[in-house]
Amino acid sequence: MAYVPLADQDQEMEMHHPHTWVEKYVFSQDHKVIGVQYGGLAVFTGIIGLALSLLFRLQLGFPESVDFVDPNFYYQAVTMHGMIMVVYFLTALFLGGFGNYMIPLMLGARDMVFPFLNMMSVWTFLISVVILMASFFVSGGPTGAGWTLYPPQTTMAGTPGHDAGIILMLVSLAVFVVAFTMGGLNYVVTILQYRCRGMTLMRMPLTVWGVFVATVLGLFAFPALLVACIMMMFDTLLGTSFFMPAVIEAGSPLDYEGGSPILFQHLFWFFGHPEVYIVALPAFGLVSDVLSVHARKNIFGYRMMVWAIIAIGGLSFIVWAHHMYVSGMNPYFGFFFATTTLIIAVPTALKVYNWIFTLWEGDIRLNSPMYFAIGFIFTFIHGGLTGLFLGNVVIDLPLSDTYFVVAHFHLVMGVSPILVLFAAIYHWFPKISGRMFNEKLAKVHFWLTFLGAYSVFLPLHYLGFLGVPRRYYALGNTDFIPLSAQDLNSTVTVAALIVAASQILFFVNIIGSLKWGKKADPNPWGAASLEWQTPDTPPVHGNWGDRLPTVYRWAYDYSVPGAAEDYIPQTVPENEVLAASNDNFETNKNPSPAAI
């Protein structure tokens, strides 16, 4: 019996329609509800991560007058801040939140391919967050080993949270990997196998491409984290010596010998570097779509953008040891990994050029999502350039454990993705909620966030050049660091407090608009991609009413000469475009590059 694709069958996918309130909003199998649940949970953990950063920033800025942060808590706050932001906030929000919400809508599907598995994914994610938060309440508190959890200090008595805290962290990460795998398999199979009629891979919006490649990276990179977690758990609980060399603690040898801390670093960064791109690639995709819509131009070099995403994804697996130049690994590795690191800058720079060329001579509409998207280009270029410094072994060696590194990765994978998140949330808020947000408030929020984030992270570069080491509780009286460094540190803390406080504007705007915002137009920005063409706003369960949409063009037909409006939705066939404009028009002879 020949296999008939589901989209060709008369009877489509069986929808599990909810009957009760609980089925509709709590244990929902609707990808949109799951996306919002994922996003809400991620934002909640993100707020905790932000609060932790303020606590240790207060300590760094005003070490004399802040007495509620002791050294142990300082390390715990730094560790939890890092882990929460990278894994539980950014990864979960981009892939779990936006991935879930956008993939079926942008592809013209009714839902993910396995909605029940999707629901399991979000609840497993909740369990992992609960386990993570539980570590704040066990004796000894959460682990304070730094977010990279390097052995041997993770399991040694001097580290805060070396008993219960680290175990909960490892269990939570393992559960997160399970949750991600369930969701990630769904995203990949949905993108490959459940597109609507006419939706070829090369007509997909770049958001979907970014999420797709990031998910594939996640499926191949998270296993390394899982294995590292299992092995470290064995070291901690069973007394094996995978990562623990012979150690003498307080004069007496511990029961470990022959393990290799470097092995953990390799496993961790084999996960950790692709993880950077798991966060960055969906951000690249989302920002491409936002820029194109608000510049009223097709994205410059769509095919190049897709291949750049794929190239970055592939290369991201062979650059991991640039995090380990000072680890004591074989120094010859440094040459190889520096080379690959600089090569990965090529497709990344290519994307930046294409974003700028998209803006070039565009009919730019400075709506608030566009503010954030353009802000992203600034911070990303800035963070990317310092990446070229740190990718080189000789420059990395003196800068490695200084604030320069902190400044680099916060600009490139902290501030930049978060600016994209704000752009994306503002951009899609009218579709998700059916209401408009307050434009003025959003712009105030942008300026406070953008300038504030710069005044937090720009000074850190100077601190790094001065040689101020990262991860120190207080600088104290250090001869090689000038006293003025502390003034800079205090300034940074004040800026951080202002940025954090300005996020209240965002929440006021979003939550207030849900209730008082004026009703949104189904397509307020005039976007061509499929998610704006749903029959209902916000889309209802099943997304498309009676009939699945058919796609006739790529997602970027903006300002096409001769067309009636300055955008042509993906669902409009060629003859209707002609009917809409009576003039003879040229575009038909030169179909868009994606029209294969």
Partner: protein, 224 residues
């Protein structure tokens, strides 16, 4: 504007690859479950690869000599000890189970539910036998004093890696046996009569994967 979906679908070579990736609706002409299983297995491959790379690294860095596997994993039946005999039998059992699994897939696509059911059951029994022999092997080593944290024959990491890697693989086999029994029962109840029997192939993919992983564990841990 061409529409790839309406064209002829090529079945071979580069053309079929291009067709797969330029088509609309779906890239591969397979059911969703099968595509998902393949991707999951690639992901799982990374897990086992990391375990094996970790093992090789530990073996290189440990300061004590690695114990001779052929002596440790030897059994004597009255006479001289035969090296690796138990592992050889275990490997044979597991690879045989792959054969019965392949037959089950074949009969599944022919719609022969009775034979499919019984062949899946035989596969599950082989799998359970494998896990049983693994339990025997574990208890023998534990009786000899090998623990994850200690090893009387040499490097501590030998015990750690042994229990971790074979344990993780054993969990996969155990999960596979449960999965097989679940599918077998649903085949017999006629659950797939209308849906088609792709599920037998999907569980088969998982089962063959678990076998293949064992071949690598066998080669790297027991033979190397």
């Amino acid at each position: 504007m061409s529409d790839a979906a309406t064209g002829e679908i090529s079945q071979e070579g580069m053309e079929s690859l291009v067709d797969d990736f330029s088509s609309d609706r779906q890239a591969y002409h397979v059911p969703w479950g099968k595509a998902m299983m393949w991707i999951f297995l690639v992901s799982d491959t990374f897990i086992f690869s990391c375990f094996l790379v970790g093992y090789l690294h530990a073996r290189v860095t440990t300061t004590q000599p690695w114990p001779p596997q052929s002596e440790i994993f030897a059994l004597s039946f009255g006479g001289d000890p035969i090296p690796l005999i138990l592992i050889a039998i275990m490997t044979f059992v597991l690879i045989t189970s792959s054969g019965t699994m392949a037959m089950a897939v074949n009969y599944g696509y022919r719609g022969d539910k009775v034979k499919t059911f019984w062949l899946i059951c035989v596969t599950a029994v082989f799998g359970a036998t494998f896990v049983g022999m693994q339990m025997f092997e574990w208890s023998k080593l534990i009786a000899e004093g090998v623990r994850p944290w200690t090893n009387p024959f040499g490097a501590t990491q030998f015990g750690s890696v042994f229990f971790m890697v074979t344990g993780f693989h054993g969990l996969h086999v155990t999960g596979g046996v449960i999965y097989l029994i679940w599918v077998a029962l649903r085949v017999r109840r006629g659950h797939y009569d209308n849906k088609g029997f792709e599920i037998v192939e999907i569980v088969g993919l998982y089962w063959h994967f678990v076998d293949l992983v064992w071949v690598f564990i066998f080669a790297f841990f027991y033979l190397l």
